[in-house]
């Protein structure tokens, strides 16, 4: 909730700041900037690049702030967990009604730091001073009456913490911690957690980066990072190519022949709404968890998309173009080669972009289920060992590669079918 509010505040704050800077600068005089009506005119909406950059920075800022990143100056950090020594008093009341106080010193230590309990002088009286060591973000039971002259088996019980009365099931807040009391009368010490995320839930960005380099050079689960990513990409490309090689001619046949259309329509229309992920169990049964199974799955994921794109490409040809080609003396094959195929290329490219996206998603999911290598397998195994840094690194890389694939496809599209949408 607090994070959401901070995020909204940064969103608004950045908008105000950028607007102020924008007003100060000289205005451009292109057509869009001279429009007086822009609200409601979708064509006048351009992504504000400053907003995009700030948006990414804000994400990393929040990530760093709530994980105590070393990349950020200290004052930007969200309050961290309490670390250090703290103490509280407890009051022991014996069976005969006499009471005595004693002090408990607790060393709250960061993971990997010194975890010994401090030495304390037991002191006088029935109740003796105690000490304990508890790791930050964790909690621990402290049996403070264990070293006392009269313990709970003698009828003694703890009645107050720092003077505040406490009973079994109740709790008291002391400095830097919360103390609960179990039904049997043992104290449960919970040090303040602060607002930062524990590294096992969300590691700091530099940890993730360090881990990325580590895996890139040393590998994880017998394969380096590059190998994991290469295998995922390799499966996608092979599966997609197989799907395209079969799907595109199938789509053309469906677009050009009644018989093909009738024969394959029910199959395509049935398979299209089946998510490829639903085929994973069957593919594992039939082909196992090796490369063949993955490629069959990706082939099936790409096949229907490419067939439908090619079919749409054929149906989309203007009949006047076909007529023109006929009256210029072209044969059926020449019309297929010179009119129908080039005319369908923009549709096929759109289909290929969709298919590559679906294949990339499917391969990661298939690797999550079962694989020996691959980006999905890497993050799945890491998650079993609570290696959150690898999981986050994997997710970021999967996203970056998926985005990269789409950008490459768009560049190829602009280069290979410049006439798209110009017919």
């Amino acid at each position: 909730m607090i994070i959401l509010l901070i995020y909204i505040a940064l969103f608004v704050g950045a908008f105000v700041a950028v607007s102020a800077i924008g007003h100060a600068r000289a205005k451009a005089h292109d057509f869009t900037s001279l429009k007086t009506v822009t609200f409601g005119d979708e064509s006048a909406v351009r992504p504000n690049r400053a907003a995009s950059v700030i948006s990414i920075l804000v994400l990393f800022l929040l990530w760093g702030a709530f994980t105590g990143s070393k990349w950020l100056p200290e004052f930007l950090h969200a309050p961290g967990p309490f670390i250090g020594a703290t103490e509280f008093n407890y009051t022991l009341r014996t069976a005969d009604g006499s009471t005595d106080d004693a002090t408990v010193t607790v060393n709250v230590y960061a993971a990997g730091a010194d975890e010994t309990a401090p030495e304390v002088d037991p002191g006088d009286g029935i109740a003796k001073n105690d000490s304990a060591a508890i790791r930050a973000w964790r909690s621990g039971l402290i049996r403070v009456d264990r070293n006392d002259e009269l313990g709970r088996e003698d009828g003694a019980e703890i009645v107050a913490i720092n003077g505040e009365p406490i009973a079994p099931g109740g709790e008291v807040f002391v400095s830097n911690a919360r103390l609960g009391m179990s039904t049997k009368g043992t104290l449960n010490f919970v040090p303040d957690k602060g607002w930062q995320m524990e590294p096992i839930w969300l590691p700091a960005p530099e940890t993730v980066l360090k881990r990325t380099f580590e895996i890139a050079s040393d590998g994880y689960q017998n394969f380096t990072l590059a190998e994991h990513l290469f295998w995922s990409l390799f499966r996608v490309i092979v599966g997609f190519l197989c799907g395209a090689i079969v799907g595109i001619p199938l789509g053309y046949a469906m677009g050009l022949s009644n018989w093909f259309r009738g024969w394959f329509d029910p199959i395509v229309e049935f398979m299209r709404p089946v998510p490829p992920l639903a085929l994973i169990p069957l593919v594992i049964i039939w082909a196992g968890i090796g490369e063949v199974g993955k490629i069959i799955l990706l082939f099936l994921a790409a096949l229907w998309i490419m067939a439908i794109a090619a079919r749409a490409g054929v149906s989309g040809v203007r009949i006047s173009k076909v007529h023109a080609a006929y009256s210029l003396g072209a044969s059926k094959w020449q019309i297929l080669r010179h009119v129908i195929i080039p005319n369908s290329l923009p549709e096929i490219f759109t289909g290929a972009r969709v298919a590559m996206g679906v294949c990339w998603g499917t391969v990661v999911a298939a690797e999550l289920v079962a694989a020996e290598k691959g980006a999905g397998m890497m993050i799945m195994v890491a998650s079993r060992f609570q290696l959150t840094d690898i999981v986050i690194m994997g997710i970021i890389l999967i996203g970056v590669i998926g985005y990269g694939i789409d950008i490459l496809m768009r560049i190829a599209e602009g280069y290979l079918v410049p006439w798209k949408g110009k017919g």
Partner: protein, 269 residues
């Protein structure tokens, strides 16, 4: 000399609900080599159907088309077609579009280049030959379509409202171009149009068709196409005879429209 004979053509389309539309009934016509025919008529009179039958895209339910002694069985390179718009191949450059017909025939490159260059010169697009067709204006695109059709050296040129989507100025220029090309090449031309003025200017012979069923209503022989070759079309339009004919044909078409639609509400206002 090969003449084009439209021999007693009838066309009926069966509708899915069991009815039928008589698009054309007993249309007969003979065109000599080098004649320029414009076809005019209210919407739904079967002009485009007739053109599609001559081109071979549709088979008539009765009658036949004979070109140079041979019955037309389907589309062929002897009948070139120019469409209203959107029939150019946007994945090819201007040069490739114009050279499409010769390429399909497997013509040697040098010969093809000569034809293409000559035609692009004729239609005034020599400087644009490497451009993509979608970079050209509507008028230029129609010039490419004309050149593409001529590159194939057809016996008959069929034009389905080729200038319908152009603005008035470009249209006038293009009308001049069509006339000059017709005279230069000596091709038989059938031109379908919605514009009475255009039909008068670009018709050595003018056919007015009537709807329901589509049939020939009236045929004219006109002097204006000859007058318009290599001269100012605006001068031709000032000719008193031109205006008389225009009024005559306009009221003829109005009458036909009223027969179908009922008297126009605007007419009395």
């Amino acid at each position: 000399m090969s003449s084009l004979k439209i021999d007693n053509i009838s066309m009926r389309f069966d509708l899915p609900n069991g009815g039928a539309v008589q698009a054309l009934k007993n249309v007969s016509l003979e065109l000599n080599q080098g004649e320029l025919l414009s076809v005019l008529g209210p919407s739904g009179c079967g002009k485009t159907t007739l053109l599609n039958i001559v081109a071979g895209f549709l088979a008539p339910t009765e009658g036949k088309i004979v070109l140079g002694g041979k019955t037309v069985k389907g589309p062929g390179a002897d009948r070139g077609m120019v469409f209203q718009q959107g029939a150019l191949f946007e994945w090819m450059s201007v040069r490739e579009n114009v050279g499409f017909g010769p390429s399909m025939k497997g013509m040697p490159k040098a010969e093809k280049k000569q034809i293409v260059d000559h035609l692009l010169e004729t239609v005034g697009l020599h400087d644009f030959k490497e451009k993509a067709v979608y970079e050209l204006s509507g008028g230029m695109q129609q010039r490419v379509a004309l050149a593409r059709c001529l590159a194939n050296d057809p016996e008959v040129i069929l034009m389905d409202e080729p200038l319908g989507a152009l603005d008035a100025l470009t249209r006038e220029k293009m009308q001049g171009l069509v006339l000059n090309l017709w005279k230069e090449t000596g091709k038989t031309v059938i031109l379908i149009t919605h514009s009475v003025e255009e039909a008068l200017l670009l018709g050595e012979r003018l056919l007015v068709m009537a709807p329901r069923p589509g049939r020939i209503h009236r045929e004219y022989r006109l002097p204006f196409a000859e007058m318009g070759v290599n001269s100012d079309l605006r001068e031709v339009k000032k000719h008193p005879e031109f205006n008389l004919k225009r009024e005559e044909i306009l009221s003829m078409i109005w009458e036909m429209e009223e027969e179908i639609m009922g008297p126009s509400e605007v007419a009395g206002a």
